[in-house]
């Protein structure tokens, strides 16, 4: 019976950079404790292109980063604003088409097309999604899924923007290392930027909208306005990924509205742990390379994919990041009852 008379106790380490405006770090050790995981992530990301063998895998890194950006935008909208958006493909497609058109028809250089496509694409996406913003949860998800599908068919039917052929011959990044480091730096910037944002006062308003939108209305704030701001932020990230994608593949076509861009970020969020922002990125770094490795199995890889997802949902539904954070920030011990 001895084994039944003890239980596992979990205690928070409680090391924080700041509490109530006072810098609360007491030693280099505590500083290291907090900096280490962030440093591992940043340095790891920056080293990745150097350690990857061959061009093929370097391209995979760029791909992973684009999905990571999308997953960031999904996680932000779903877990901090309460809008479960399946419109990832809309963001990618809009950003990609704008960048491609600006580059091909106006001859703008890549330094201009990416920022213009990100911001104007975000504005377009926000305007398109504006009528659906009063919707919540699964209803918003369904409507936002409709947009990329509709966009694909509209381009096909009206034969605009190159129709089914798409737009070929878009400028590529000047060097492949520029391409990789650009997307990696963007992932790092937006990851830490969003983490900062959700803990700022306006971030609390976003979380308030998710938690209890009626109380936000009763506080004298328009929920539609704040939802629109959040969608703008998320779609800026998505359109940026789209613009990068079109320059990486030197092509923009209706395949960019494919459902993969809506679905994979969700799968990555499940694996990485929702609401952590870093988790979905980690999920992308697992899922996208796996799908590359499984490429030789052809369509069978979908089955492998499904098994991985199912295993995560059943055995670690909290996600890797949440699990990791818990193990890192708490210590466990057995205590006698």
């Amino acid at each position: 019976m001895a084994s039944e008379e003890r239980r596992k106790e979990r205690l928070d380490r409680g090391i924080k950079v700041r509490s109530d405006g006072i810098y609360a770090l007491l030693s280099w050790r505590e500083l290291g404790y907090l900096v280490l995981p962030r440093l591992v992530l940043i340095v790891g990301l920056l080293l990745l292109p150097l350690v990857m063998p061959g061009l093929y895998w370097q391209r995979v890194i760029s791909n992973v980063c684009l999905y990571a950006l999308l997953a960031l935008s999904f996680d932000f909208l779903a877990h901090y604003v309460g809008l479960v958006s399946l419109g990832g493909a809309l963001f990618i497609g809009t950003g990609a088409y704008i960048a491609a058109l600006l580059n091909k028809h106006l001859g703008l250089s890549i330094i201009l097309t990416i920022p213009i496509a990100s911001v104007s694409g975000a504005a377009i996406c926000t305007l398109l999604l504006l009528p659906c913003l009063p919707l919540r949860g699964v209803y918003f998800a369904i409507v936002s899924l409709m947009y990329p599908l509709a966009a694909m068919r509209i381009i096909e039917a009206l034969n605009i923007f190159g129709g089914t052929d798409g737009i070929m011959g878009v400028d590529s990044f000047p060097y492949s290392w520029v391409e990789q480091y650009f997307v990696i730096v963007m992932v790092i910037l937006f990851l830490f930027g969003l983490r900062r944002l959700v803990n700022m006062d306006i971030g609390l308003v976003f979380r308030g909208v998710k938690d209890n939108d009626q109380a936000v209305r009763a506080s004298g704030m328009s929920i539609t306005y704040y939802k629109a701001v959040a969608v703008f932020i998320a779609s800026t990230i998505g359109c940026l990924a789209g613009a990068c994608l079109t320059h990486i593949y030197m092509f923009s076509g209706i395949s960019l509205f494919a459902l993969d861009f809506s679905i994979l970020p969700i799968a990555a969020t499940v694996i990485g742990g929702g609401g952590t922002l870093a988790g979905p990125d980690i999920g992308c770094f697992i899922l996208v390379p796996i799908s590359e490795l499984l490429r030789e199995f052809g369509t069978l890889r979908i089955a492998f994919y499904a098994i991985i997802l199912m295993a995560f949902i059943v055995f670690k539904s909290e996600g890797l990041m949440v699990y990791g954070q818990r193990k890192y920030h708490q210590f466990e011990r057995w205590v006698k009852i």
Binding site: D201, I202, L204, G208, D211, N212, S219, G220
Partner: protein, 262 residues
């Protein structure tokens, strides 16, 4: 009459399908009043609050705030004018600590305007102001209570948090939807002085209550609703002496009790 009443409701009517939840209810509230609204369950009290604060659009009727029509304005615009409300079923932000709950209303345009303050500076940031408001409303400052997650707070504190959310907006009117319900006698006893202090601060209050004894201690006027219609309005004594009210509350022990008390 030079000064228009704080709130003027004219023939407020709300129909849900064929059911008239409110049937041509009219009343005035003057500055500094505490108006109690009582009535049996389903008599339209909460619907009235929803209509005034814009959470539900009225079928017909007009509402004026300080002589300005606010009928049909969206809820956040009405709150922005200073007509705030609490919810009967408390609506805190459960995933945030209590003091962070107040950061959200403090971020609103009205709080920025009325506070003359945009965060930072002499008053401190929104967190500090939030904790100040919580202390005012009865959260012990130096305890851990203001820092606890709203999901782990007991009902009494959540009711106070609802009021605190209104106070963060520096309101002119607070419509309290059953702030006393679900509280123990001692908790109510500690809430009553709070309500009195709000009145002294010049805030007009409209209180929906079932706890008549406590309500009559603070309210200077009472309105009785029954089946969406206004039965009577007057001072607490007048209202309780009215035979129509006795009929509406027929068999209710509380009224008998209050009648003998009054």
């Amino acid at each position: 009459m030079t000064e228009s009443p704080m709130l003027h409701v004219e023939e407020a009517t709300k129909a849900f399908g064929g059911i008239l939840a409110l049937n041509r209810v009219s009343f005035d509230v003057n500055h500094g009043d505490i108006l109690g609204i009582i009535g049996p369950n389903g008599s339209g009290k909460t619907t009235l609050v929803n209509c005034i604060t814009g959470f539900v659009t009225m079928t017909s009727g007009k509402i004026f705030f300080k002589g300005r029509e606010i009928t049909g304005k969206p809820a956040h615009k009405i709150a922005d004018l200073g007509v705030t409300r609490t919810f009967q079923i408390m609506r805190p932000y459960y995933s945030l600590p209590a003091y962070k709950n107040l950061v959200i209303p403090l971020f609103s345009p009205r709080a920025k305007r009325t506070g003359g303050w945009r965060g930072g500076g002499k008053l401190g940031d929104r967190n500090t102001v939030g904790i100040d408001i919580l202390e005012e409303i009865g959260f012990e400052r130096d305890s851990f209570v203001p820092y606890k997650l709203a999901s782990s707070l007991p009902t009494g504190y959540l009711k106070r948090l609802e009021l605190a959310r209104c106070l963060a907006l520096k309101p002119e009117i607070i419509l309290c939807d059953e702030v006393f319900s679900g509280l123990s006698m001692s908790e109510i006893a500690s809430m009553v002085p709070l309500i009195e202090r709000l009145q002294m601060d010049g805030i007009t209050l409209i209180m929906i209550e079932h706890r008549l004894r406590e309500l009559f201690r603070v309210a200077n006027r009472v309105m009785v609703l029954n089946f969406g219609e206004k039965l009577v309005e007057g001072t607490p004594d007048e209202v309780m002496a009215n035979p129509k009210v006795k009929e509406a509350y027929f068999g209710s022990e509380e009224v008998e009790e209050v009648m003998t008390y009054a």
